[in-house]
Assembly symmetry: C2
Homo-oligomer: 192 residues x 2
């Protein structure tokens, strides 16, 4: 399907050049068609972009859901640390996260409201999935009672964002170094 190839290529372009920086002509060239042919599959640039945004958010959530489901029997520290590592590995070469972060932080102005709405939905879902984990670990005694579940969640998401930032800016090896340090301090800060 050509529509899928367009999406695939467009994701790369949006991820590395942003909404304004990505041109339909360049995308079409990479696909191997003329830019006018894109209009056979999408109404225009906005529809292509928003369709990609939905895909990206869905994939992002699916990954988290899948990971938590398939590792739910792990100890909470291994689960969380593994989550960081897997997230990094999984998206090392993928443009999904790059697209996601770029759009989340610097959305094209005329699509601001739609994007923010979708973004918050993602964040809320993430929160809902993580909170019970921490509550259980606190009840278990694995995590100190001095630490609230919400503080642990918020701080963990901050560690995650810190990883993203370094992943984007400095690449994998710098990001790995940051994960090691952040996780070491983080776990030392919440464990019993």
């Amino acid at each position: 399907m050509t529509a899928d190839r367009i999406k695939e290529i467009a994701l790369k372009h949006f991820a590395s050049n942003g909404y304004e920086g990505a041109s339909l002509a360049d995308i079409a060239t990479d696909v191997g068609i003329k830019k006018q042919s894109i209009y056979t599959h999408f109404k225009g640039k906005d529809e292509l972009f928003l369709s990609l945004l939905d895909d990206v958010l869905a994939r992002e959530l699916a990954f988290v859901l899948d990971y938590l489901e398939s590792h739910k029997d792990l100890a909470v520290d291994q689960l969380l640390y593994g989550f960081l590592i897997q997230y990094q590995d999984c998206y090392e070469k993928d443009d999904n996260t790059k697209f996601f972060l770029r759009v989340a932080f610097f959305p094209p102005t005329h699509l601001y409201e739609v994007i923010v709405k979708k973004g918050y939905h993602y964040l809320d879902t993430l929160d809902t999935m993580l909170i019970p984990l921490f509550e259980q670990a606190i009840a278990n005694g694995t995590i100190s009672k001095e630490v609230s579940s919400s503080a642990a969640t918020v701080a963990f998401l901050a560690v995650l964002d810190g990883m993203f930032v370094e992943l984007l800016f400095g690449g994998v090896e710098r990001s790995m170094k940051r994960i090691e340090a952040s996780w070491f301090v983080y776990w030392r800060g919440i464990k019993k």
Copy 2:
């Protein structure tokens, strides 16, 4: 000086629309001149942009330097926490950080090398300023000997980035919440 007014306005535009999204015509309109007049003061868009980048990095470093200098007699935990708070306060309404982050993470491709070079210089300087603080605190016994000074520094910069991210995406009140949680866990993780 018109050049300064152009810079001032251009900073806003670059910060909120990115390199490609900011147009010289819009900037000129906000300044109250025609876009051609910009060429009296700058060779072109690139020179304006790079000139702004230098200013932004210099201001960013100056702020850190100034803060550390004027609070060097504080206890390390108050110093670091205060640093987070002050950074947030200082740049709440300022476009400096927004410009900085946007450019750092998503640089315009044709200026990539120049930007990355300047960016790493900033990071290195920051590192050089922070490391001795942690070394001293570890020697003091304020921070646990189990924590290396480099791990504490790297993790602290991650906390800082986490704050930036939330500052950009969610605004001040969400960022404040994140700082509270992150700092609580961070300090609990490195203290003796």
